[in-house]
């Protein structure tokens, strides 16, 4: 192959430089566009992250409220077991009543309406001094089970002077309905 002359070499050099400059500009334009798109996507991602952070912050506030209420009621909804909750709540209620100084009488249990998101109704009869009755009413809130006092009837106990009879009805909430329904209509 013959050796190129200076003129041909120069022509090739200028041609190469021209093509190089063109490729550089074209590639730079394309690269710039790609970088711009990537940058825009990144900033959108950052905005999403900030929004998510705000949502999580709001969620944090709700978590604190839930924690406070769980501490107050001594109740963790996630640990409740549908199979045992009624029996254990009944036993705890009797235990608290007895611990308050009430002589526990008959305890009746009846199934409640599912539509009202209740699992069962417990009725406890007993008698005791007034402080014991009021103590029981106060402790019912912190029983550790999802129990709401439905009604309380107090009457004097004619057989035991200085004491009153109490008929306490309480419902055990069906917590599973909150799990399945999503947003309940409390």
């Amino acid at each position: 192959m013959r050796t190129l002359t200076v003129r041909e070499q120069r022509l090739l050099l200028y041609g190469g430089i021209g093509i190089g400059v063109y490729l550089l500009l074209f590639g730079g334009y394309k690269l710039g566009g790609a970088l711009e798109r990537r940058s825009a996507a990144y900033h959108q991602l950052v905005a999403d992250a900030r929004e998510l952070k705000q949502e999580l912050k709001a969620c944090d506030d709700r978590v604190l409220v839930v924690k406070k209420m769980m501490d107050h009621y001594q109740l963790d909804p996630a640990k409740l077991n549908r199979a045992t909750v009624v029996g254990l709540a009944s036993a705890q209620m009797q235990k608290v009543a007895a611990g308050s100084g009430i002589q526990v009488g008959p305890v009746r249990e009846s199934p409640a309406k599912t539509s009202a998101r209740e699992m069962a109704t417990l009725q406890l009869e007993g008698s005791g001094p007034i402080p014991a009755v009021l103590g029981l009413l106060q402790r019912m809130e912190t029983l550790g089970w999802p129990v709401i006092i439905d009604s309380v009837q107090i009457t004097p106990d004619s057989m035991r002077p200085g004491q009153v009879k109490i008929i306490l009805s309480a419902v055990v909430l069906d917590f599973d309905q909150w799990k399945t329904e999503g947003k309940p209509h409390a």
């Binding site: 013959r2 050796t3 002359t5 200076v6 003129r7 970088l35 990537r38 940058s39 996507a41 990144y42 900033h43 991602l45 999403d48 992250a49 998510l52 949502e55 999580l56 969620c59 709700r62 978590v63 409220v65 839930v66 209420m69 769980m70 009621y73 109740l75 909804p77 996630a78 998101r117 007034i130 402080p131 009021l134 103590g135 009413l137 106060q138 809130e141 999802p146 709401i148 006092i149 439905d150 009604s151 309380v152 009837q153 107090i154 009457t155 004097p156 004619s158 002077p161 200085g162 004491q163 009153v164 009805s169 909430l173 917590f175 909150w178 799990k179 999503g182 947003k183 309940p184 409390a186």
Partner: protein, 506 residues
């Protein structure tokens, strides 16, 4: 290994190569425009390669090469004296102003002639001999030699020949008689220099006859007209040189210079050898590439700073995108993980919160209600039954002393602000008219309103007073209904004990 000295000369018809003891001549063919034909070029490259290889010439060894006068311009310039490296820039400026082509298109070189001279106006000026030729011509020769493995420095053959002239006066000329043309170069007192190609040679003039005489005469005439020199050194054919010298007579005096014949021996090559042996000199070099300007930063530094500047520029351009380039993937993963976690957390938290709030909102304030009833109850009341449910319905059965107490009891319940409605459903005197039996119902206000009400005894009243004066319904207690359940329980206990148990025993 040190390369043996090699000297070359390009004439119109051949390339002459001379080494220390031998040499060779390679014929050249040119196109009408003077350029070498491709075939001749390839042939010459191959032959030169072989010649050099046979003599152990290293690849790309350096050699001096003289070129013929075709296209060469030779001038003497008188320039102001400058220090050191300033000559290059000054001569370049002169070339720009005085030569028909810009310096970039020329292969040019210069040499200082003698010492600086004081001019009549007092200025100190230096004579400079400048040689220039179109870059294409030298470039073609350089390409050929490079292809043959020689890196050559170029000079003008006429200048090399002048080195062989003995006893050179201040103004002299050098004539090389070629076969079909001659080269005439003149140097006049460091003030004027020129080089011409004359269309008369040994072949055109012939050896005898009328035409030869005429050619010699015309050559002498041209020399006389062009040269204002005292001496002309004549190289080439000895007979013709002698004839020409005779014809010239004294104007100028012709002096043939004899060169012993041999391969690779030409006047220019011998002149180059002489110049190479001169420790203080060296041929005037025609620069193909512009010499580095001392004011301009030279290549390594320039390249280094260029690279730095380029990197800086790239950094500046890419900086806004670096964050996006490197952090998009990790951030995307993180955000996706958080979104999943947030969704799960939100679902669970919302469910638990709703459940617990339901539990809270459906716990009626039994203790607070008992406290209100106990505080509102007049002395002597007998309660047979007291019922409360989570819908806020209160039902009471009992007896009071008279109707005034019933009205008072009812008023106090309403005044407490806890009850939305109080109804005395039945009020009937006992058969002995000592008491009034009553059946009363009341409806508690919604839990939200009750929680805001200030119900309960003050801490002092909660200490054990049965009916403290400031613990009446409606009066502000120490804390709200939901905040002081212990105090409410104590207050309710005191009042209920009085009304239920004492009343029950009556």
């Amino acid at each position: 290994m040190k390369a043996p000295p090699l000297h070359l000369e390009f004439t119109r018809h051949s390339l002459i190569a001379g080494m220390e003891t031998d040499g060779a001549e390679f014929p050249l063919e040119r196109q009408p425009d003077g350029r070498l034909t491709v075939a001749a070029r390839e042939r010459t490259v191959a032959a030169l390669k072989q010649f050099l290889k046979a003599r152990g010439w290293p690849a790309h060894g350096r050699a001096w090469c003289a070129i013929d006068a075709r296209g060469v311009s030779l001038r003497c310039l008188s320039l102001p004296v400058v220090a050191g490296d300033g000559w290059h820039r000054l001569v370049r400026l002169q070339i720009e102003s005085e030569f028909p082509l810009p310096p970039e298109e020329l292969a040019w070189g210069f040499r200082l002639l003698g010492e600086p001279q004081r001019q009549p106006d007092g200025a100190l000026k230096q004579s400079v001999l400048v040689a220039a030729v179109k870059k294409e011509i030298v470039g073609e020769y350089a390409d050929l030699l490079t292809a043959a493995g020689v890196t050559a420095g170029f000079t003008v053959a006429a200048l090399a020949r002048a080195e062989l002239c003995p006893h050179r006066p201040a103004a002299y000329a050098v004539l090389e008689l070629g076969s079909d043309q001659s080269e005439l170069a003149g140097f006049e007192d460091h003030a004027r220099a020129f080089v011409r190609v004359l269309p008369v040679g040994t072949r055109t003039s012939g050896t005898s006859g009328q035409s030869g005489e005429t050619a010699l005469e015309s050559l002498a005439k041209v020399i006389r007209s062009q040269c204002r020199v005292s001496k002309l050194y004549i190289f080439g054919d000895a007979d013709m040189a002698a004839q020409l010298a005779r014809r010239l007579g004294d104007a100028p005096v012709g002096e043939p210079v004899k060169i012993s014949p041999g391969a690779g021996r030409s006047a220019a090559i011998l002149g180059l050898k002489k110049l190479a042996e001169d420790p203080g000199g060296g041929p005037l070099t025609l620069q193909l590439k512009p010499a580095a300007d001392p004011k301009i930063v030279t290549s390594p530094v320039l390249v280094e700073w260029g690279v730095r500047a380029l990197l800086l520029l790239l950094a500046v351009l890419l900086f806004p995108f670096l964050e996006a380039l490197f952090l998009t993937a990790p951030l995307s993963t993180k955000v996706a993980a958080f979104q999943t976690r947030a969704g799960l957390l939100e679902t669970n938290v919302d469910r638990d919160l709703d459940f617990l709030q339901y539990l809270k909102q459906n716990q009626p304030p039994y203790l607070g209600s008992y406290y209100i009833i106990a505080q509102a109850a007049p002395s002597g009341i007998h309660i047979d039954s007291l019922t409360l449910n989570r819908r806020g319905e209160m039902s009471l059965r009992g007896s009071l002393r008279n109707g005034d107490q019933v009205a008072d009891f009812r008023s106090k319940l309403m005044a407490s602000g806890c009850f939305a409605a109080v109804t005395v459903e039945d009020q009937s005197p006992t058969p002995d008219h000592q008491k009034v039996n009553i059946r009363m119902t009341a409806q508690l206000k919604p839990l939200g309103q009750l929680l805001a009400l200030p119900i309960g005894p003050s801490p002092a009243a909660a200490g054990g007073d049965t009916n403290p004066p400031d613990a009446s319904p409606g009066k502000p207690p120490a804390a709200g209904l939901s905040a002081n359940k212990d105090a409410v329980r104590v207050g309710a206990h005191s009042s209920l004990s009085t009304n239920l148990i004492k009343g029950g025993t009556n």
